[in-house]
Amino acid sequence: MISKLGAFTIFLLQELSSLVWMGRETASEIMERIAKHRAPFRLEHFFYQSNRVGVESVPMVILLSVFIGLTMALLTGYQLQRFGLVTLVPAVVSVSFTREMGPLFTGIVLASRIGAAYTAELGAMTAGGEVDAIEGMGIGALRYLVTPRILAIFCLTPCLTIISVVFGILGGMFISSLLLQLSYSYFYDQVMTNLLVKDVMAGIVKSFLFGAIIGMIACYKGLSVKGGAVGVGAATTSSVVTAVSAVIACDSLCNIFIVTFFP
């Protein structure tokens, strides 16, 4: 048992150091490129990835957020009704969605939707020797392949989080009006009164972190694929599991930090 735990810890540290190495090498390739007065990546690649990460994820984020907001308002409302506190539902839904549920669910959606795609794509390129070919041409595979992907998910996760928060609150508003007899205008006023800039900032900062974590893990897993199709499949599964776990762990640490230092 102890030896297994030790082996797992060593594996975890190795993976973490490889991830840090990849980040450092990517940054240094970018700097070398800038030093040569060349663009570190192609804008068209960034826009293409942004479209995949952002625009194409909007329907799924909206759908999930509406249903989660709806469920959250409904279950909270039924519990609070017993104590005659149903009027607190707008505050609970808006604050918890802005600080917690919005960023977290956006992170999970992106880890499974985009993280898997990044890993499978880069994994297939690694297995097919395409990554080595790019490196062998002196182009810099990390800069060329990783930078636009990580940058796109880093920039677009907060945007999707905002969409998620808005639609989560709208879902809560809809069900509250339908089943908890809270009017739309009352719900809106309560959201505006209870939601603080601090809550919005906490959600946004977390979502930037989640974006970076998902992008880094997905690209790393893709570039470290070994073997053919089976290796790509295993790396994709591992990428999603690792990214989702890392997002949830990071969320908890962020919450501890925020509650401790910005109560």
Binding site: E32, M125, E130, D132, A133, M137, G138, I139
Partner: protein, 255 residues
């Protein structure tokens, strides 16, 4: 008497091992400019690994790898990338970028590493495609090409930056005789007309003797024989002569 040509590539005492497995155990060889060196050896003997070391994709545990005067093992990454622009590589599986068409594949190094505009890049791409006889395939995806065509596109891409050295990893493996001959002719044409130096790793003896100006045999991580094709044919090294005779017997049995 002609002046001696400069050494373009030299490996000295190159050793490489992964965990306990020794892949290369002190490899020494050199290649003169405008030479075609064919490296032969048994499967899994480390020939392709040798090419990866020459490209700077793998770092040896010991030894030096010189391209012109520069030791690749001691250069910083930007310098290695700079050297790589003078070396082209044709991979065994072509390694074309599957999401890009032929034109984009060949133009990729030019677009990323040169200051040429799109028009100039297009013209170079056309020129290279004409060289490999695939001018009509510029808009096709790699998946729409046959194995032989993919290798020719790989060669066109390797030549895009006008390299001084081209590395070929099993360029004719798995190809029909007509396509094999086409690739061999291209290697000879590069040597004779464009003064390009080549290192070819191959198992195909016919191909090897057709293109080689010098040969090396890699066995158990070491070069056990280096010489001209004629010296190889008449070698009394037991392993080399067994390797060559096995090939001859195989060819005769096919006849």
């Amino acid at each position: 008497m002609s002046a001696p040509r400069e050494k373009l590539v030299e490996m000295r005492g190159v050793k490489l091992q992964f965990a306990d497995k020794v892949i290369l155990n002190g490899v020494d060889f050199s290649v003169q400019a405008q030479e075609v060196l064919v490296i032969m050896g048994l499967s899994g003997g480390g020939k392709s690994t040798l090419l990866s070391i020459l490209m700077g994709l793998l770092k040896p545990n010991a030894g030096s790898v010189f391209f012109k005067e520069e030791d690749l093992t001691k250069l910083s990454r930007p310098k290695v990338n700079e050297v790589r622009t003078h070396i082209g590589m044709v991979y065994q599986n072509a390694a074309l970028i599957s999401s890009m068409n032929v034109r984009e594949n060949i133009g990729l190094p030019l677009k990323e590493l040169s200051d040429k505009n799109d028009k100039e890049i297009d013209s170079i791409v056309d020129q290279k495609l004409e060289l490999v006889g695939l001018k009509d395939s510029r808009d096709k995806l790699p998946s729409e090409l046959s194995g032989g065509m993919q290798k020719r596109v790989g060669l066109a891409r390797a030549l895009a930056m006008e390299p001084e050295l081209v590395l070929f990893d099993e360029p004719t493996a798995g190809l029909d005789p007509i396509n094999s001959k086409l690739i061999d002719d291209l290697i000879i044409q590069l040597r004779d007309k464009q003064k390009v130096t080549s290192i070819v790793v191959t198992h195909e003896m016919e191909s090897a003797f057709a293109v080689a100006t010098s040969m090396a045999f890699l066995q158990e991580g070491k070069i056990i024989l280096e010489g001209t094709p004629a010296e190889f044919r008449h070698s009394d090294n037991p392993i080399v002569s067994k390797f060559l005779s096995s090939y001859s017997e195989h060819e005769h049995s096919k006849e």
